[in-house]
Structure formats: C-alpha cells, structure tokens
C-alpha cells in the first residue's frame, strides 16, 4: 500500500518536473528519512518548483523564505508584539512554523540568521523569550544554495552542512525533457491544479515504517567499512562522522522502502551514498576528478 502511494507521489512530481527522476527520488527519500535537504544548483533549474510540488503532493503546509543579507533571526522565527487590547505580549509565529520550508539562497543570510535556522532544524523547536515553542510535525527544510556568484555570501561551514542529510544537484534537463518543458503547460498553473496524494498522517506513518525496514548485520558491516575507508585511506581531510553513518542507514531504509523492499541491500546504500557524503567529505588532493564518489564505492568491498 505504502509503495503504491510512493509510486503515485513520484509519478505526480515527475509530471511537474521533467527528466529529474533520480534527484526527485532522492529528495523523497530524504523526507521519508526525516532529513533536511540541501539543493545546490544554478537558478532556474526548478529548485523552488520541486520544493513546492513535494509540499503539495505530500499535503504539507509550504512556506518559502527568501534569504537576504539584512535578514534577522526574528524574520524566520517570529516576534512577540505588545497588544494594547489584551495588554500582553503576543507571539506572532514566523515562517518557520510551517511543515515544509524552502530556505531559498540560504548562503545570502548572515551566519547569525543561518544558525537560527539550523538550530531550529536540529532541535525541531525554537526558543523565543524564554518560551520554547515546538515546531510542527513533520518539519522539513529544503535549503538551496547557489554555487555561482559567491560575492557577498556566507557559504555554510562544513560543520553546519552536516545538518543536512542530503545534498543534491538538479542540473539541466536533457534535450527531450527540456523540449517537453518548453512546449508544455506553465508549471505554475499545473502546480495550482495539483492535489495532495497522501495526508500528513499517512506521511507520518510512512516515516514510522521507514524505521522498521530491516537492517542486517552484514549491511552494518558494509556501512562500517565505508566509514572506516573514509577515515583511514588518507584520501579525505576528515572521515565521515557517526551521524553520517546513521544518515546512510536511515536513507538506505527509505530508499529500500521506495523500492518496495522490507530490508536494505548494499545497492540501496550505494544509491544514496553520493548525496549523503558529497557535502561531508573533502578530498585531500584537489584533483578535478568528478566521479570520486564512484571511486569511493568501487574501493569498498561488500562483505
């Protein structure tokens, strides 16, 4: 049942965003694994559309926050305003009190504002004037970063990149997909006609189910080998953290579920590995070797 629903979600999203099956599947995997997603790409390739489509299909309340350099934490979290009628401070929640947040161009904001967002992502709650406010559940952040035009930006430091379960790139569509896109209907109109495929409750159940996908000892061995390799081979400046290892397993479970299996295979780990490690590992040698993650997979034997 869950698999049929997932297939329906993927089909719907793929109808809106053409020719991007794999990144879309990864994005869905990330949400199912309760992780936050970082999309790094040029403007105009459909980052916002993807976030919006996902939110609508999954029946989530969606809010886009455009980050700018003069933004303050309050612009995200909200403010308490004194109200004369009640003679009280009343908290006006900010955009973060939504279920799916698109943090657009997160690297434009000052580190202070960034860390407010990242803290909220980590803790699932915010503290305003001594009062702790829980964020909604489910709570997803899809942040985007523009790799070009870095002047006047604050790129997220590596330690904060770790907060994102996955980093994906969308890239240009291929020729056929692009042709369909150019000839087809306006995406905004399509989005407005879009209906939710599942309810929020169903989504929460699915997240529950992801945690129950079986992980065998053999698979944990494999993940440990990958972690050890990144730590001991001397190819990377720092190895993967235990959090990255947990993320690998969790994402592998979600991927296996989308694939319709109740257990995780090494192939699932390999499928999610590039998006999980690419922003966490830095090669010691600055060779412009694009497929180094492919090499990483080749270098670790499956036990």
């Amino acid at each position: 049942m869950a698999q049929a629903q997932l297939a329906a979600i993927l089909a719907t999203v793929n109808d809106i965003i053409l020719g991007k099956q794999h990144p879309i599947k990864l994005a869905l995997t990330c949400l199912l694994a309760k992780g936050h997603l970082l999309i790094e790409d040029l403007p105009g390739v459909g980052k916002t559309t993807l976030a919006h489509t996902l939110a609508t299909t999954l029946g989530l309340r969606f809010q886009r926050i455009q980050f700018t350099s003069d933004m303050l934490p309050a612009d995200i979290i909200g403010v308490s305003i004194y109200e004369r009628e009640t003679a009280k401070f009343n908290f006006h929640p900010g955009p973060i009190f939504n279920q799916l947040i698109l943090a657009d161009e997160v690297n434009r904001a000052s580190p202070r504002t960034q860390s407010a967002l990242l803290e909220a992502m980590e803790e699932q709650q915010v503290t305003v004037e001594g009062q702790t406010q829980s964020l909604s559940s489910p709570f997803f952040v899809i942040a985007t970063q523009n790799p070009a035009n870095q002047i006047g930006t604050f790129p997220l430091p590596e330690s904060q990149l770790d907060r994102f379960l996955m980093r994906i790139e969308l890239g240009y569509p291929d020729a056929r997909a692009e042709r369909d896109l150019l000839l087809g209907q306006d995406r905004r109109e399509l989005l407005q006609q879009l209906q939710a495929v599942i309810t929020v409750d169903e989504l929460l159940q699915m997240q529950q189910a992801v945690a129950e996908v079986h992980i065998s000892h053999a698979l944990v061995d494999y993940v440990q080998r990958i972690l050890n390799h990144t730590r001991e081979s001397g190819l990377y400046q720092t190895g993967l953290s235990p959090r990255a290892g947990l993320g690998l397993l969790r994402a592998g479970q979600a991927w296996a579920m989308i694939e319709g299996r109740d257990h995780v295979l090494p192939e699932d780990i390999q499928a999610v590995l590039p998006s999980i490690v690419s922003h966490r590992l830095q090669r010691r040698e600055q060779e412009t070797n694009q497929d180094w993650i492919e090499q990483l997979i080749h270098q670790v034997a499956i036990p």
Binding site: S233, G234, L265, P266, E267, Q299
Partner: protein, 684 residues
C-alpha cells in the same frame, strides 16, 4: 574482476620505477657503463613525464621513432659487445635495458603487470653474479616493493596508504619464508654448476692465482681482461693480487689450534721451468711419480678449508698435509701440489690435517734434473755472481746463507710497486733496481741456486691470513698471495727457503697487513683514534664472521652438505626422490596449517555466504565476475544480460540470498538456496 582497464596513476608507476631501480642497481657495477646509462635515462624519461609532464613516446610519432630506434640500437650494442651467444652477461644486460624501455611505455594495467613480473626476473639475475647477504637483503626489499606495486593495482581498496601496502606485502613475504626454507633445504641439488657456461662459472672476474709466473712487463691487454682466467700471470700479477681484498679461502682449525703466522704457508702450484721471463709448472708425466715421501715431525693440526671458486684444479693446503683431503676427490702431484679431480667452479669445502714440521724426501732423477735447468744464455751477471760465491763457499748450506745474506745486507727493498725491469730482468733486478716483492726474490733466488748446482723450485700459494677472533676463522685473501723457494739438499730433502723473509721479516711475522698503507687497513678518518679503531675492528670481525657463516651454510649449501644434513636429520640415504616426497609433504602440511590459521582467524564464513560464493564461482567460470563492490542485485542484472536463458534462476537465487543475508528470514530457506545453486548449471 570486471573492472575497467584503468591505467595506473603516476604515483603507482613511480613506486614501480623505484623498485626496479634498486633491482637494477647492482647491474650498474657488473655490466658495462652504458647499461646503467641507458637504464637511468629511460626511467628518468618516465619520471620526468610523471612529475613534470614531459611527453611520452606514445604522444608523437617522432618520439616513438626515437624510443624504438634507441631500443634497436641498444640491442645492436649488446650483441656487438657480448657476441651472438646469449650468456649470463648479455642476457642480464638485455633484460635490464629492455625493462627500462618498457617502463617508458606503460600505459595500461596490462603493461604495468608485465613490467612488474619482469622486475621479479631482474631480481633473479642479480644472483647470477653474487649471493652475498647484502644482495639477498636488498633483493628481499625489492620483492616487498614489487609486491606492494601489485597490491596497489589489484585490491579494491587501492587507496590504501603506502605503509599499509608495504606491511601487507611484507607479511606475504614472511608467510612465504617457511616454504622458501623447505625448498632451500630439500630441493635436490645438482652437483656442479647448473649453467654449463665455462666463462661464467667460477671466479667472478676477481684476480686468482695462476699457473705461471712471468718476470718482466705486463702486456697492457692482460691488465684488464674480463676475469682472472688468464693462464698466464706476469711479474707484477701478484702485486695486483695484493691489491685485491677478495677471499681466496677460509680455514677453520679444529679446537681453534691455529699455528703461528710464520708457519702459515699455504702451498699451491709449484713452478719448475723458466724461459727467462715466464715460470711454469711441469706436467706430472715429466716428473718421477713415486717420489713423494714425507716424514712428519710435529703434531698434526686438523682444519677445514672452504675454497672460493677459482676455476682451476689446484687446492691449497697448509705445508705439509698428512694425507689427501676428505670431502673432495683429489691427488698429490709429485712436487707436493694438491690437485682436485675437477675444476673448482663452486665454493667447496674439504678437511685436511697438516704437520708444519716435516721432511719432504721427494727426489728422483728427473725431478732433480728439472730443478737445475736454467734458460740457456740468460742472466749472465747473476750466473757470474753465483760462480764467485761458489768458489768462496764451504758447502751448499753456506752458499744458501751467502745468498740470503746478500738479500739481507745489500740495499734490497720490499715494494709492492717496483720500477719496471728492462733488458735481462733478473740481472736488472739483482744489480740495478733492487726493489720488488716475493716473486722477484723467489725467482732470482731460485736462479742463484740453480746456477750453483743446487736443485731449486718456486712454490706459489698464500702466506698468513686474518684470524677473526669472533668465530676463529682464518680468512686468506688474494692479498696474502706469496711465492717462496724450495731447495733440495741431499740429507734433508726439499727445504723451504723464503728469500722475502731475508728482506722483510715483517711480511712473515705479521702478515701482509703491516706492509699495506694505513689507509687500506681502516677508513682514513678514524685511523688516528685508538678506541674507534678498536670499535671498527670489532664490528668488522663480527660482520666477517657473519659473512663466513652465510657463505658456508647458505651459499655453500650444495648437494653434499644437503646430504649430510638430511642424514643427520634421520633421512637415511637421501636421494632426490625421497627429497621430493618429503618436500611435497612438508609443503602440503604448510599449506594446510596456513589455511587452518586463516580460517581460524577469520570469522567463520556463514553458510549463506559460502553458497553464494559457489554461485558466483559458477558464473565466474563463464567469465562473469562479481566485482568486490558490486551488490547482489546489480550483479544479477549484469549476469542476466549475459545469460538471458538463466534469468529466472539467477533472479530466484539472488532473491533468496538477499533475503537470507539482509533480512534474516528463517533459515529453512537456506536449504532451498543450496538446492537451487546446486541445480544451477549455467552454460553459454
């Protein structure tokens, strides 16, 4: 593995180049200089490409022509230098040079493998030249390096650090050690040199004793020759020998009972006839055969000699042996020279016992006649001198004393670099230059004797030796080479007279060492510091003792020692069949032990994995190999593409395996997996 044929990266190739360079290094010494030059140039080309981005031959037609042309030129040079028969030198030169040319060509993984494997051959060629401990250790290092090169292109974890790769490779070499030991001890040895190449066997170009002694100038071409296998040595040859530290033989005395240095006359070939410049031996047939009778007048000492190969028949013995040596077929010549039945092409050991005081009663008309011959018309001044003494002297022993006194009291000088002799060389030496060493004195003394009617002959051999206090082994080197005289007196037989002693008594009391310049005795820097000299001497003694043991027990381990050792270990009458049988058994046992250890140490393989491995093996036989990083489903997909007829079976097996291994379904499925894999018989 189904990995793409990745070309090895620069760092991997640099490692191989380093290993090959070390392996080729000894050849720079053994081979003509252009071998080392060509090798260095080629690997430099490779390194310049790897480090600086210089172009390789493959990048342009001109460079390819240059590369191939240079290779062809080297082949021509090799053949024109060594001749058309591929012997040891030509073969080694060819391998060394062509390997370097190949290094420049490495592009694919296949080239890399090939070069690695040839590197192992290069390691072997070093042992054709020397089997010294140093080379063995060095080549072991090269093997570890070569292994690690293979490891780096072969494991799925190629990103392993150099330290890890070297560690793994070292471990592999260590694991191979027991096998190596068994093979070393038990592999049947063929007596004699394996390679029937006479110019290659024996004396490695080192100077050795020769049968003839020539007074006078050395023709320039004989100064250089490829080896000491010249059958002629001129005057001055022994001084060349004295320049050489090469070992002639080693002696181990029983009970460490070493006679004093001045008694250590190691008898070699005896020289009888002279044409005025060249002294040479006589054939046994030219002498009275039964003439050798010896009375021994002192307690005999027992000793074992380990003779370095010199490619001649003669053996050396302490004057005078009480019998034929044990451990070697040999015979005594009528002049007391000890000869082996075959040429000494390998290091050999023999046991002897000698008595340093003896009377050698070997007369016989023919012998005495031969010991009186002088070349007609030569040495007029020497003969005149002899006649004037003869008139004054009261008897033969008085005459001998006069001659010795002449050497002692006139201004004769012992010198290793005497001036050249001109004209009649004996006259020139006795009356003009008066500078020379043992062979000058022995030869002129012998002529003086014969001119007076006293039978005399020259004995060549060695005198003294270095006693190592660590293992009490006496090492006799080429620089201990010596020549002395034996004269025949009616009542006393042949007596040894050493005219050199009359000139320089040091030579006999302390050996040759004291006469060598100080710089040859110890490194110049430390010559002035007593403590350092002592320390140096100590280290040297220990090192020499170690080398001696190595040479005798490892390098000298031949069929005979092998037999002795095996019969001492309880194998009665060991022949090659028994050895092969025991060897096979031991190797099998080692294999089983290692296998057991590896199983014991590894986590027990789960049955499901073992079944799956069988499945993979069945596919591997059809050329479908599972890569180490490949998941079961990916592999199944690939296999199905190649074997569409077995799609259903492959899917079913993979599904079962995945469930058993990654889901822990109940193991009842295990039997099904086993059955399915058993029934799986894929065929193309």
């Amino acid at each position: 593995m189904a990995r793409p044929d990745l070309s090895p990266d620069h760092r991997t190739i640099n490692g191989l180049v380093a290993a090959l360079f070390i392996a080729a290094l000894p050849h720079f010494i053994y081979q003509p200089f252009w071998v080392g030059l060509a090798f260095t140039m080629m690997i430099s080309w490779r390194l310049l490409h790897n480090l600086r981005g210089w172009p390789l031959p493959a990048s342009s037609i001109w460079l390819r022509v240059l590369h191939n042309g240079a290779a062809a030129l080297m082949i021509v040079i090799i053949f024109s230098h060594f001749g058309l028969t591929i012997g040891r030198d030509a073969g080694a030169a060819l391998l060394t040079i062509m390997l370097a040319f190949k290094v420049v060509e490495i592009r694919s993984l296949r080239d890399y493998y090939l070069t690695c494997y040839l590197g192992y051959f290069l390691v072997i060629t070093n042992f054709f030249y020397t089997q010294s401990l140093f080379i063995v250790v060095l080549m072991m290092l090269v093997i570890v390096l070569l292994n690690s090169c293979l490891i780096s292109v072969n494991t799925s974890t190629s990103a392993q650090s150099l330290k890890k790769r070297l560690g793994l490779s070292g471990k592999m070499v260590l694991k191979a050690l027991p096998v190596m030991l068994f093979l070393f001890m038990l592999f049947p040895r063929i007596p004699g040199p394996i390679w029937g190449l006479p110019e290659d066997a024996g004396g490695n170009g080192a100077a050795t004793m020769s049968e003839q002694l020539t007074l006078g100038e050395i023709p320039p071409d004989q100064n250089r020759g490829t080896s000491g296998i010249n059958d002629e040595i001129q005057m001055g040859k022994i001084s060349q020998l004295i320049q050489s530290d090469a070992i002639a033989f080693r002696v181990q005395f029983e009970d460490d009972n070493v006679p004093p240095n001045k008694q250590l006359y190691w008898r070699g070939p005896v020289l009888w006839q002279s044409d005025g410049t060249v002294w040479s031996p006589l054939q046994t047939s030219q002498l009275n055969e039964q003439a050798l009778q010896v009375d021994y007048q002192s307690q005999a000492v027992d000793y074992t000699i380990t003779l370095e190969p010199h490619n001649k028949r003669w053996l050396f013995a302490l004057d005078f042996p009480t019998g034929k040596p044990q451990g070697l077929a040999s015979y005594f010549a009528p002049d007391g020279g000890l000869n082996s039945a075959e040429k000494m092409r390998n290091r050999r050991q023999y046991q002897l016992s000698s008595s340093t005081e003896y009377q050698l009663n070997a007369s016989g008309d023919r012998n005495l006649w031969a010991a009186l011959q002088l070349p007609a018309g030569e040495h007029p001044r020497t003969r005149a001198l002899a006649e004037s003494w003869l008139e004054e002297s009261t008897g033969q022993s008085d005459y001998i004393d006069r001659a010795l006194a002449f050497f002692n009291q006139q201004d004769f000088v012992y010198s290793l670099s005497p001036p050249q002799l001109r004209g009649d060389i004996v006259d020139s030496f006795l009356f003009e230059t008066r500078e020379g060493f043992c062979e000058h004195y022995a030869a002129s003394f012998t002529i003086l004797m014969r001119a007076a009617g006293i039978p005399a002959r020259i004995v060549t051999g060695y005198q003294g030796g270095d006693l190592n206090p660590v293992d009490n082994v006496l090492t006799v080197r080429q620089r201990d080479a010596h020549a002395w005289t034996e004269v025949w007196l009616p009542e006393q037989g042949w007596i040894r007279v050493d005219p050199t002693a009359a000139v320089s008594s040091q030579r006999l009391e302390n050996g040759i060492n004291d006469l060598l310049p100080a710089s040859r005795r110890s490194p110049g820097m430390i010559a002035n510091n007593d403590m350092l000299v002592e320390l140096w001497q100590d280290m040297k003694n220990n090192w020499d003792a170690f080398n001696t043991a190595w040479d005798i027990w490892v390098v000298g381990f031949d069929s005979q020692i092998q037999k002795e050792l095996l019969s001492r270990l309880g194998m009665s009458n060991p022949d090659w069949r028994k050895m092969i049988a025991v060897l096979t058994a031991l190797l099998a046992l080692t294999g089983i032990i290692m296998l057991f250890l590896s199983f014991y140490r590894r986590q027990p393989t789960e049955p499901v994995v073992a079944y799956y491995q069988r499945f993979c093996y069945k596919l591997a036989r059809l050329g479908i190999h599972k890569a180490a990083h490949e998941g079961p489903q990916d592999f199944a997909r690939r296999a199905e593409q190649q074997l569409p007829a077995y799609q259903r079976q492959i899917q079913s097996i993979t599904e079962l395996y995945a469930r058993l291994r990654y889901r822990r379904d109940n193991s009842a499925l295990l039997n099904e997996l086993a059955d399915q894999i058993k029934a799986f018989r894929p065929r193309r």
